[in-house]
Structure formats: C-alpha cells, structure tokens
C-alpha cells in the first residue's frame, strides 16, 4: 500500500518563523503507524529550511514540488499522487492562506473517498475504518475503501521528538512542477451571524395560557381542580392513553 502524507510549513504564532504545522505532524505520525510504503509530499514555494522540522520529526525524505508562490498546488499534487492508495494531510494548514479545502478538492480530483478530521485509522475487513473527531468530544466511525484521502486532526498522534540527527539524514528531493493559476483571493468582511428568530412573538405566559385554556376544546387543555390526587392522576393517565403516549 502506498501512503502519501502532505505537509506544509506553518507560521509560528510568536516569531512568525516557519515551523511544522500541528495537524500535518499528526498526519505524519499517524501514517508512520500504518503498514505500507510512506512518501512525504510538499507542494509550494517554501525553502528547505521551512520544511526542516518535518525531517527532524520523522520524515526520512520529502518530495517537494517547487511551484511559484502564486500558483494553485491542487493540479500538481493531483498528478503526483496518481496511484497512491491513501493520502493523509492535516485538517488545516498551520498558516498562510490555507482554506482547509485542499483535502476535499484532492479527493474529488483523485476520485477517492474523503474521511474528514480523522483521529485514528485502522483496517477492518477490506475497508479502512476511521475515528472522526466531532465537536464536544463526540466521535464517529467512518468506513471507506481505497483509494482514500483523510484529513487528520491535530490530536490524532504525536510525532517523534525533534532530532538533529534525523534533520541531518533527511533529504528534500525537489522536482519542478507547474501549477494552475491560483484563483484571486477575495477578502470580504465576515458575515454577521443571523440572529435566531422565534416562530411566534407571543410571550411564554401567553403561550401557556393558550395551551391550557384556549377557546377550542380540542386544542386546549383541562385544568383539574377537583378531586384528590388519585383522581387528578387518573385524568393525566387518560390523556396520555388517549394520545397513545403510554401503553398500559
């Protein structure tokens, strides 16, 4: 099985220097746990130093598709990754103009299934099973056959520690590539979230009144004031049975 991991430099939040992106590192670490032949790919205009962190943290070598800064990496990556069974990448790049759309576009181009925001990947029968991270700690299991593209959550796996020896041994293999022109980036102000509108503007008290003492007897409820607690409970039970809300 051929596995490709896509990496790109992130921007350090304090110094602005290029460093490894969290999610891309997690993708690299997750891929290292899978059986198969691992390739690490980068497409873009970053120099070798910007990719050094990935070498130091476990990538033996990186295939770098040299593109001019103003070109779209999709086409170049798509043609380079033909024949690859599994593509892993970070769910989102660690800086720059990354839109987070690359895995979707790449899956479309390769005709592969997409497993978004993956925490873990394992083989089950002939398919690959992924644990997907959803908000608030919710997990969901996804399954797909090969070929597949998985975008990896930053918490999926921890890459090996930064090692100077690995940095020295690692190689960046550059290939010239041509990319399609990047669609011009259009910056627009964030849209203000639309406030939720209530279906009815009547106050809560009025709605309660309507529910229990409306003019129409069918819609309205009954206020039971007479009788002891058993009789009152009997009325409630009758109501529930009438509406088939209990079955005894």
């Amino acid at each position: 099985m051929k596995i490709a991991v896509l990496v790109s430099p992130a921007v350090h939040p304090v110094s602005g220097r290029p460093c490894a992106g969290e999610a891309d590192l997690a993708a690299l670490a997750l891929a290292q746990r899978l059986p198969g032949e691992l390739q690490v790919w980068y497409a873009g205009a970053a120099d070798d130093a910007a990719l050094a962190d990935y070498l130091a943290r476990g990538a033996d070598n990186i295939h770098s598709l040299s593109l001019s800064p103003d070109s779209d990496v999709l086409a170049a990556l798509g043609s380079a990754l033909q024949g690859v069974d599994m593509v892993l990448c970070g769910a989102r790049s660690g800086g720059g103009d990354g839109s987070g759309l690359l895995p979707y576009q790449l899956a479309e181009q390769l005709g592969a299934a997409l497993l978004p925001d993956v925490l873990d990947l394992s083989k089950s029968d002939r398919q690959w099973q992924a644990v997907q991270a959803l908000p608030k700690g919710v997990r969901r299991t996804l399954k797909a056959g090969l070929p597949l593209v998985a975008s990896v959550n930053p918490r999926a796996a921890t890459a090996p520690g930064w090692s100077y020896a690995r940095l020295q041994q690692g190689k960046i293999k550059r290939k010239a590539a041509t990319g399609a022109a990047l669609a011009p980036v259009v910056l627009e102000p964030a849209r203000r979230a639309r406030a939720l509108v209530a279906a009815s503007k009547v106050s809560g008290h009025a709605r309660m009144q309507g529910a229990i003492a409306g003019g129409d007897a069918k819609q309205a409820g009954v206020v039971v004031k007479q009788g002891d607690s058993v009789e009152k409970a009997q009325v409630v039970l009758d109501y529930l049975r009438q509406h088939q809300l209990v079955d005894f």
Binding site: V14, S15, R17, C19, G161, W162, S163, Y164, A165
Partner: protein
C-alpha cells in the same frame, strides 16, 4: 633460611608484578574500546604534582580519611618500591629491610585507621570488596613487616622463624593479591593504577592549571552526536570511570539523590564501569539510584541508555557540579551526564517533560519561554535605558537574560539599573537583538541549538562596541565567559555581583549615611556563579559593603546545595520524594534569618516557588537599591 625467604620474596614480587601488568593489559583493552583522544604524554610527568597537590586539596577536606590514606597508600607505595629494590633487583640489603619494616608499620597503622572507619561506615561508602579491603591491606603490611623483620634478624630464629616465614609469605600472597589482581579483575585496588593514569591523561587536563567548568563543543560537522554506546566515549573517559573509589562523596553532595530522584552519581559512574567491563567486574555494593534496582544488565552492543541506565537518571541531574567538586579522584560526572544526554536529544529526540517544549521555543523564538524578543526590555521602558544600535558604543552592555520575562525578576533588574545609574555607570542594552544564551539548550543536550544561538549571539555582539558585559544571570555569565570562547566569542563578562562589589569598593554607589543596621540574612550561592566560577566572595562583599551580616547556611559556598533549576532540571522535572528547592528552603530556615539573598533569576524563581511558610527571597541588587541615598 634467610636465603630461601629472600628468594621467595623475589619470586613473589615478580609474580605480583607480572599479574599486575597482565591485569593492566586486560583493563587497557577495555579502555581501548573508546574513541581516540588528544592527550599529552607529558601528563605522566605532571602526575606527581596532580597527585600530591590537586587531589590533596579535595581529600584534605576530610582530614581523618586523608591521614589514613597517606599512611596506607604512602606506606604501601614505599613497601613496593623498597621491595622492588631489595628483592626485585635482588640487592638483599639489611638497611633496606629496616626501612621496609618502618614503612610496613606505617601502612599497618593506615590500614588500621581505615578499618576502624569501616566499622561505622557512613552509608555513602560501598560495601562488598571495599569493606574487606583494609583487612587485606593490613595482612599485606603485616606480612611485609614480618618478612623484612625476619630477614633483618638473620637465620638464628630456627624452626619458629621458618614457621613465621611461611605465615608471612601467606599473608603477603593473600594481601598482595588484592594489589596485583585489582586492576585486572576490577577489585578495589584498581583505583590505584587507574587513578594515577587518570591523573596523567585527565580529559580536562586544563583543570590542573585553573578553573575548568565549561562544556566542550561537539564537532557537529564531523557527525559527533554524543555518547550512545561505550565506544563513543573517549578512551580516557573510560579510564576515568575506573578511577572511582566509590567513596560516595558525590552521592552525599548530590541534590537529586537527596530529593529521591533516580540519580546517584556514584552509581552512575559504576554503571559506566559495568558497561565498559561488560559486567565482568564484581557486583556493585553501594546505594542504588533511588527507587531503582542496584543490579544492571549489560547487553554488549546496545545503547547505554535503556540497558544499563534509565533516561530519568540522566535527566535528574541539575549539573550543579557538587559531585565534581567533591570527587577525590577528579572524575567529571557532569561531562558524562551531558555527553549521554546529547545522544538522547540530538539522535533520539527524546527530552522528557517540558524540556522538548523549551527546546522548541528556543528554535522558534530564541527564548526559552516562547516570548517575543521585542518584549524582553519592556520592564525598562520608563528607566531611560539606551538600546544600543549597531555601530554605537557603550562602556557596559547589560544582558538581562531570560529572567527579563519573569515579572518577579523584573523588579530585581529595575533595582540593578537604578543602582548602576546612581553609580554613574554608562550602561546600555541590546533590546530585541538579544537572544537566549543557549545555556538550557546545551545542558539539555541540544548542542546544535546551543551552537546556533551562540554563533548568532557572537555575530550580533560583533556589531556593537562595548568594553564589558554585565549580567545578573550566572548562566548567561558562564556561557559567555567560559563557553563562547571555544566558538570564537571573546568578551569581558562580569556577573553583576562582581560589578557591584567593584563599585562599592570604589565608593561609587551613594549609600544612605544614617543607615539603621539591617537584620542579618543568609546567602544562597548560585552553582553557576559559585562552583562553576569561584564567585563566592563578590556577593558576600556586596552584602558586607551595604552593612548586612551574612549567616551562612551549613551547606554554602563550595558545598552549597543547588536550587534545583540547573541543567534544565526544572523543565524535565523528574519526580522524586521531595523537591530540591524545598530542601534548600529548609537549609535557609535553619539559619533562622528569615531572609535569603539570591544572585540568579533561576534561584529566585525556584526559591520563591516553595509553597507554605518560607523565607523572603531578595535579589542582591534589590538589597543594594534599598540602601541607595
């Protein structure tokens, strides 16, 4: 009879000499596993001075043991030399026998004193063969005494004499075996041979000419990445491990050991011995690394860390040099720890705790804490402290170091600037051009990171013109003063305690005239100022100069206990039974002063981090600033 006894002694002497040489050859083959090292054969000539002067400085701190050793070793060496003359060369002179009897008596006395000490051995001493060594030495001394006495007395003793002669020969053979076989079989007397050679071929020969506490740079371009296996040590390092006498003075001084962290420096050295001898030496019979088994499994060919040694042992070290300072055999424990750490960090990328985060911060931001460089001097924004621009000049360049990001230490820095201004010192700072000095990176084994930072700093400093550098951080001070020269950076670096001392001595600092006497306090010596740089007097003179009496702790000066920060130990944070700063605070409490003066941002942070009731922690500069007129 005397004729046959004399010949027997000749035979015994040469047999012993042959066994010793054979053993030495065997041991030398173990040392040869190591890498080559540039050593000077002239070291052999320097050996007597190193033995009688340099070692004596350390040994004499425990006078009773020193006297016992002088008697036992001096007597023993004299016996061997006289025997070589009289019996080895077959001179058979009566007057040499008289001398032999005298020397044997001296050795007997020394061995007796050592045996007496072993009766109530402090727990730091190793047991096993070391425990019975004095008795064996007594046997040897007594045998020598009897044999030489018999030979001097002549043949008229008859049957009784023959009997005594046989007993004496037996004693000599038994006791002498300890000397002759020691080096070959790794018995205690190995220390005599290996120790002397270690003095001659010491890995830090420069320490005999003066202070030598800097770590040596790795040649990264040549692929040097620290020590993974025994073969990666220089051969004279392997030799140095064999010099260990297992006296445990390092163990008694080690703050990590006292805190119950899994490091016993004595055991660490013995682990190295076990690794190089592939476990063929007698089993170690001393205290283990706290919480660990004493027994080690040596797997030839495997990395040292992971087989004979746990990584936690290395990361427990605070590099405070208390072990090195106390070692009577002048073994360099800290070098060994850092050499092994370098492999873990550079090759394996395994740094525990927050250590890897600190190293990542250094790579990405040039600060340990991951701060923007531009905020380093924010604390000085209202102090009118000039920020030096390239090409400009000043007399004193102040490097604040990492403490500048700590809000507590910023108070100390402000006090320092205030004092320097009051004294009329022309001082400026680098502003955001100042990077971390690389101390933490280097102690955590990231030699590549250290060299990058050091070279960058040297290049930066070359753009400015200044006469001296002053820093309140002993780690910055040590790095710049002692470790940058190897990378081409020569600066005149002062710790602020020395500058304050200098200014006070010249009466340059205007002090309050009618000062009320201040309550006494105690002073905590920073390792990197004190033991690393012999800066014991300057801070004490500063306190004296502003009229404060110092009540020293029991462990102060050369014996001061580390605060627990050094060597990146605050980042790797290996758990133990106690915390080192808590123990140091106990030392401070014992003085009853309720206040402690510090002269290091890291000591400040560690001691202020002690929870519960604690003494006030005040920086040296703050104390001076309080007394400004």
């Amino acid at each position: 009879m005397s004729f046959s006894l004399a010949h027997a002694l000749t035979g015994l002497f040469w047999l012993g000499a042959l066994l010793l040489l054979g053993g030495l050859a065997r041991r030398a083959s173990l040392w040869q596993q190591g890498r080559s090292a540039s050593v000077s054969w002239l070291g052999l000539l320097a050996m007597p001075k190193r033995y009688f002067v340099d070692i004596h400085h350390v040994v004499a701190r425990e006078p009773a043991v020193a006297r016992a050793h002088v008697a036992a070793a001096g007597g023993g060496v004299a016996i061997l030399l006289l025997s070589a003359l009289n019996y080895g060369l077959m001179l058979y002179q009566g007057w040499l026998d008289v001398l032999l009897v005298l020397m044997a008596a001296v050795m007997l006395l020394g061995a007796r004193m050592m045996q007496a000490r072993r009766l109530q051995a402090p727990p730091r001493l190793s047991q096993g063969r070391w425990q019975v060594l004095p008795a064996r030495l007594r046997l040897f001394a007594l045998g020598s005494l009897l044999a030489a006495g018999l030979l001097f007395a002549g043949p008229q003793l008859g049957m009784a004499g023959q009997l005594i002669a046989v007993v004496a020969l037996l004693m000599l053979a038994l006791g002498g075996a300890e000397l002759a076989l020691g080096i070959g079989l790794g018995w205690p007397m190995k220390h005599a041979v290996a120790g002397l050679l270690h003095l001659a071929f010491h890995p830090r020969a420069e320490r005999f000419a003066g202070k030598s506490s800097d770590l040596k740079p790795l040649n990264l371009a040549a692929g040097e990445l620290g020590v993974a296996k025994v073969e990666d040590f220089a051969w004279n390092r392997l030799l140095s491990f064999d010099a260990c006498v297992q006296c445990g003075k390092c163990e008694a001084a080690c703050p990590a050991y006292a805190a119950g962290q899994p490091l016993n420096p004595k055991k660490l050295i013995q682990d190295m011995v076990a690794a190089q001898s592939r476990g063929s030496d007698p089993a170690y019979a001393g205290n283990p690394h706290p919480g660990r088994e004493a027994a080690v499994v040596v797997k030839p060919g495997e990395d040292i860390v992971g087989s004979v040694l746990a990584a936690e042992t290395l990361w427990s070290c605070t590099t405070c040099r208390a072990c090195v300072e106390n070692c009577p055999m002048l073994i360099e424990h800290v070098d060994t720890v850092v050499n092994l750490r370098r492999h873990l960090t550079l090759s394996r990328g395994e740094v525990p705790g927050k250590g890897s985060e600190a190293l990542a911060n250094l790579r990405n931001t040039d600060t340990v804490g991951g701060y923007p460089l531009a905020v380093r001097y924010h604390w000085a924004i209202d102090l009118d402290l000039p920020v030096l621009q390239p090409g400009e000049q000043t007399e004193w360049l102040l490097l604040a170091g990492e403490g500048a990001f700590d809000m507590r230490y910023q108070r100390a820095l402000r006090a320092l600037v205030k004092v320097l201004k009051a004294a009329g010192v022309k001082v400026a700072v680098l502003g955001e051009a100042e990077r971390d000095c690389g101390d933490v990176a280097r102690r955590l084994g990231d030699e590549a990171g250290f060299q990058r930072l050091a070279k960058a700093n040297i290049a930066t400093l070359a753009q400015y013109r200044f006469a001296h550098i002053v820093t309140p951080d002993p780690h910055v001070f040590h790095c710049l003063a002692n470790e940058y020269p190897a990378l081409g950076g020569q600066f005149d670096v002062w710790h602020h305690s020395k500058l304050l001392e200098h200014l006070l001595a010249r009466r340059a600092i205007p002090l309050k005239a009618d000062a009320t006497p201040l309550p006494p306090l105690t002073f905590h010596d920073p390792c990197y100022l004190g033991r690393y740089n012999d800066g014991f007097n300057a801070p004490r003179n500063v306190l004296k100069g502003i009229g404060i009496k110092v009540v020293d702790m029991q462990r102060s000066g050369r014996d001061a206990r580390c605060c627990g920060w050094g060597g990146g130990a605050a980042f790797t944070d290996i758990p133990g039974q106690r915390r080192i700063p808590d123990m140091r605070m106990d030392d401070i409490r014992e003085t009853g002063t309720g206040r402690v003066a510090v002269a290091c941002p890291n000591c400040t942070a560690m001691l202020e981090g002690v929870v519960g009731e604690r003494a006030d922690v005040i920086e040296l500069a703050e104390l001076v600033a309080e007394r400004l007129a």
